[in-house]
């Protein structure tokens, strides 16, 4: 089978639409994963009646496949409540799943803040909220950036899973295009390259951010 640029050209409109979907799901997923992970990480330092439910829930989510969670969110949950748009289900699925990993990143970052920092904040009569906001989280976050960035890239590579609930991200578009035209090589190649083109600059960005944060 020969490479046909004409096929590539035919695929491109579908590709752009798929890329947009991928990036949208990734952006929302990242936002959810980063913020929810932080909520978990702070919650597990709270009183036992908060800690244990959170630990149980996050352990459960981390130990079940993302695919199952996506199916559950999109196909099972509407049986009890309102149907959620597919993008919402996809973003929540990705974000929730990865929040259980970012939680561990934040947790390590928080634990790496020396106990003297807590004591100094305490000695200045800072409220717990102020202590977290001004002292602990800025330091913990700095330590967490590299690992958080790696999870964004990992999440990017898992976005094709959302095609299974009907969210046509770029790999889904490539598959659909191939099934219709019987040309698979061009669309899959384009999508493969696209993953690299998104992931590599992203990792460069993370490394730059890491260097910037390490200056003081």
């Amino acid at each position: 089978m020969n490479w046909d640029w004409g096929v590539v050209a035919d695929f491109m409109p579908y590709f752009w639409s798929g890329l947009l979907t991928t990036l949208q799901a990734l952006a929302w997923g990242t936002l959810i994963a980063f913020s929810l992970g932080l909520v978990w990480a702070i919650a597990v330092r709270g009183p036992a009646f908060v800690r244990w439910p959170v630990l149980g829930f996050t352990e459960f989510v981390r130990n079940t496949p993302l695919l199952v969670q996506l199916f559950f969110l999109f196909f099972v949950l509407p049986e009890w409540g309102p149907t959620v748009p597919v993008m919402v289900a996809g973003a929540i699925g990705l974000g929730l799943h990865y929040s259980t990993y970012t939680m561990e990143v934040y947790r390590a970052g928080i634990e790496a803040v020396p106990v003297g920092q807590w004591e100094a904040a305490h000695a200045l009569s800072m409220s717990p909220r102020r202590t977290w906001q001004s002292v602990i989280l800025p330091q913990a976050f700095r330590r967490s950036v590299p690992a958080l960035g790696n999870y964004v890239i990992a999440m990017l590579k898992e976005t094709p899973l959302i095609a299974t609930i009907g969210l046509m991200e770029m790999l889904g578009e490539a598959r659909a295009f191939g099934t219709e035209t019987f040309r698979f090589m061009e669309p899959y190649t384009v999508v493969g390259i696209a993953f690299v083109l998104v992931a590599y600059p992203a990792s460069l960005l993370i490394r730059a951010l890491e260097r910037r944060l390490a200056t003081h």
């Binding site: 920092q117 004591e119 100094a120 000695a123 200045l124 009569s125 800072m126 330091q139």
Partner: protein, 289 residues
């Protein structure tokens, strides 16, 4: 009195209350000899860590504007006293009052109940602490290290807090470093910022926990000079744990010698360093000089 414990006076295991009531001990005593109410009062305070009794039925008072130095071998409970005052640890028995208010309890409907977080924070505002390891906030520049708590805890405006901070940073001689991060400063400079940070809260009591122990020898003098300045130019009460005996002699109204969680001897520095009454004090002073 060459041999240890040759007289009853030399027995370090005597009840601490006795040792804190010698004649004319300025700054620390039984609450009857000084005019005005005491600022800090420890009443029968016991603190244990597991099996180990760190403070044993301790009683003492500190009066306003006095500078009290705690000396003694490591593990004698000196730092625990500061940490109790800072509510970083809680006493197992006894009560601590600061400026007439209970540190560990509060009055509700005429009854003393364990203090809530808010009450403790209010009382704690009267106390500032400087740590051995400085504990500056590395994510903030020098100026913000000093303004952060006055703005967010005392509710000062940003301008007020900055004016106050600039004065204090000048006092500790670091005006040219005001826009630097702590890691860009030497240990001695960091400790001076930490002193400014504590003073910015205008505490009534300043606790100093071996503030020069983590410093290179050539940086110690600068920090001690700043503290001498603070001691002599302000009305702040100081409670100071130190191994710098000459500094203790300079600034103290009263020096308390601790051993095994009890006060062995409390006296003005001239007496305690010049003519210690207890063998344990003599042994200790000989070992550190």
């Amino acid at each position: 009195m060459d041999t240890p414990q040759s007289t009853p006076q030399d027995d370090p295991a005597r009840p601490a209350g006795d040792a804190t009531t010698p004649e004319a001990v300025p700054g620390a005593g039984d609450g009857r000899r000084e005019d005005g109410p005491e600022l800090i009062r420890f009443q029968d305070v016991t603190k244990r860590f597991g099996e180990l009794t760190v403070l044993d039925d301790l009683c003492f008072s500190v009066y306003p504007r006095k500078h009290v130095t705690l000396i003694g071998p490591s593990g004698s409970g000196k730092t625990t006293i500061l940490r109790l005052l800072m509510t970083l640890v809680k006493p197992d028995e006894g009560t601590i009052t600061v400026d007439g208010e209970h540190l560990t309890h509060e009055e509700r409907h005429g009854k003393l109940v364990p203090a809530g977080e808010k009450h403790v924070r209010e009382v704690r505002k009267k106390i500032g602490m400087v740590f051995q390891q400085f504990n500056l906030f590395p994510n903030m520049k020098v100026l913000r290290n000093v303004t952060e708590a006055p703005v967010h805890v005392l509710g000062l405006s940003k301008d007020e807090a900055e004016a106050r901070a600039r004065d204090l940073i000048e006092l500790v001689g670091l005006t040219e470093h005001i826009d630097k991060y702590p890691t860009q400063l030497s240990g001695g400079q960091q400790q001076r910022v930490a002193i400014a940070r504590a003073l910015a809260m205008r505490p009534k009591v300043l606790l100093l926990d071996e503030v020069t122990s983590a410093l290179d020898p050539e940086l110690v003098a600068g920090v001690l000079d700043v503290l001498r300045d603070v001691a002599h130019s302000t009305e702040i009460t100081m409670l100071c744990v130190t191994h710098e005996m000459s500094f203790a002699r300079d600034i103290s109204d009263c020096v308390m010698m601790f051993d095994k969680g009890r006060i062995v001897e409390a006296a003005p520095p001239e007496q305690l360093f010049g003519d210690p009454r207890h063998q344990r004090t003599r042994d200790f002073l000989r070992s550190v000089q």
